[in-house]
Each structure stands twice: as structure tokens, then as C-alpha cells.
Subunit: 186 residues, 2 copies
């Protein structure tokens, strides 16, 4: 990997972490440059404005999400795929208790503002919703697949918020157990 | 009401609206002063720092929440009380599609930061959770009351986030209908 790409990757990784931990609005290009150990003047070579780095972060997160979906899609049992999705969330419970869901909190923050940046975040949420819907369709729930997907995502998002609010991973663990039971009969 | 109290009330109302519409972090004391039509220099007479005005906003929201609970507690049918709670959310769906849930988005934003301000927001969420739990206890669900309350609040919070993300009140309406059906047998 060239030195140039390395710097860009370091900037995107740093932005990803800071946006998640501090919110997008309170993260400055200077913060990102410092964390990535890249001189601030160089940042503008890669990203003219903060929105451009946000787009790069969303693209990176989308690729990560797609990798997970690709792995899970190889599981022959459809309910195992959905269980993997629920467990992936639950595994991150300590971090969620500190900073919330990385996707949910970005949608919450940018949704208020609207415009292009909100669409970037919404696009990630839509991809997640579509993947879950596809699984329920594979379970033969042609008509209710979207409604089941909305239910599952909303449950996880809501409980992630309570986990963050009360700084207690137990909220997410309890809900994950309920959702895995629900999945047996859904 | 004295002129002095009037100014303080105007500042708290303006802060409440701006924090909801724009987030706490992007709202400045100057924004609040301008919206309340109070000279910025006067703001410091009432609130030394932005955290103090946030505390006043949370206290105002707590009083508003308590007023609703007091009205609903007078309904003889316990399920009607919980239905009123669900409907109150659903009625705000157009605003939720623009700015999210006022309580959920505050908890999401301040939760990342932690500290005293996060505790103010968490306290409001705890009051809501406790009221819902009390209703399920009144329905004889002594053991599962907290779990049912968590489920109801998480469902509403999660769907409020999807409503905001996709800017579509239909998400909240669909979920409210499901929750009212669920309530019949819960």
C-alpha cells in the first residue's frame, strides 16, 4: 500500500472512531488529523470538508457490514444468520454502554440535520433492514418480512439506546435473549 | 409573573426547542439568547454555563412528563393509560420524522459524553420506565413488569429512530398499532 493511501486510511479510521465516540458535530478536522498523526495541512489534500470524510467513513462501514453479511449468508440455516446478527450486537454491549450503537447514533444525530449527510447514514440503515428482510423472505415470510425486519431492528436500536442511557450492558443481553427466543417462532 | 421570570422562562423554552431541533452540542448560548429575544449579556445572569440551561430544560421536560402521567393515572383502565402513552408518541410522528424522539435523542447524544449532563437525561428516561413499570404492576404483572416496560420503551425508541432515519411517520404508526395489539394480551 502506498504511503498516500496509508495516510488516507489512517484519517478515515481516526474519523470513524472519533465520530462514534464523540459525535460527528463535535469532531473537528484538527481532532482527526491529530489522532491519525497526519499534519492538518495534509488533510485537505484528501478531504476538502468534513462531510467528505463522513462519506468515506460511511463507505468504510458499509464495506464492513457487507463483509459480515457475506459471511452470514453462507450459513445454511437462515435462523442462524439472524442469530449471528443479534449476537454481533450483543458482543459489542460494553462499547454500546459507552457510546451507543455506531449506526443508530449516527442516524439519530444526522437525521436531525437532514440533507446529504443524513442520507449517507440512512443508506446504511436501509442496507441492514434489507438484509434482515431478505432473511425473513428466505424463511417463507413473503408478506410479513419487512414488518418482521422493522421489528427486529427497532428492538435492537431501542435497547441499544437504553443500554447507553443507563450505561448497563444487561439491557442488551436481556433483549438479545428475548429476540433469540422470538426468532424460534417468528 | 415578574419580568425576570419571564426572561428565564423564554430562555428555557428557546433552549428546549433548539436542543431538540439541532442537538445540545451545536446549540450555543448566543443561539438561545437570539431565539428568546434576550440580550446575550443577560443570559449569564440566569445561567453561567450551557450545562445549567440544560438542567433547566430537563427539569421543564420532567414537569411536562409528570403532568401527562398525572392525567393518565386518573384513567380507571390501566391498559388505557398505556394506550395513551403509546398514542402520545404516535401523535408526534411528523415531528419525530424531522427531529427524532426528544428524550431518546437527548439520551443518545449526552450518553456518549457521560458525566452529569448524561445523568440528567438518564433520569428522565428512568422516570418514564418507572411509570410504565408501575402500570404493568397494576395489571398484576409483578414479576415481569420491568421487562415489559423495557420492551415497550425500547420498541418506541427504536421505531422513533427508524422514523427519523427514513423521514417517514408510517414506521411509527405501524409499530404503534402492533404495540396496541400486543398490549391487549400483555
Amino acid at each position: 500500500m502506498s504511503r498516500k493511501n496509508d495516510k488516507r486510511d489512517r484519517l478515515v479510521d481516526a474519523a470513524d472512531e472519533l465520530i462514534y465516540q464523540k459525535t460527528f458535530h463535535t469532531t473537528t478536522l484538527a481532532d482527526i488529523a491529530a489522532k491519525a498523526d497526519v499534519p492538518l495541512g495534509n488533510v485537505y489534500y484528501y478531504f476538502k470538508v468534513k462531510d467528505e470524510i463522513l462519506l468515506a467513513v460511511v463507505q468504510k462501514r458499509e464495506a464492513e457490514l457487507q463483509s459480515l453479511f457475506t459471511v452470514w449468508d453462507q450459513l445454511p440455516n437462515v435462523r442462524d444468520r439472524l442469530r449471528s446478527f443479534i449476537e454481533e450486537n450483543s458482543r459489542g454491549s460494553d462499547t454500546i454502554a459507552r457510546f451507543g450503537c455506531s449506526l443508530g447514533s449516527l442516524c439519530q444525530e444526522l437525521g436531525k440535520q437532514g440533507g446529504d449527510v443524513a442520507l449517507y447514514a440512512a443508506n446504511l440503515m436501509r442496507k441492514t433492514l434489507s438484509w434482515v428482510e431478505k432473511q425473513f423472505k428466505a424463511l417463507g415470510k413473503e408478506e410479513s418480512a419487512l414488518s418482521l425486519a422493522e421489528y427486529l431492528i427497532a428492538s435492537l436500536q431501542g435497547i441499544s439506546l437504553l443500554t447507553l442511557t443507563f450505561k448497563d450492558p444487561a439491557f442488551l443481553h436481556r433483549q438479545s435473549k428475548h429476540l433469540e427466543q422470538w426468532l424460534e417462532t417468528a
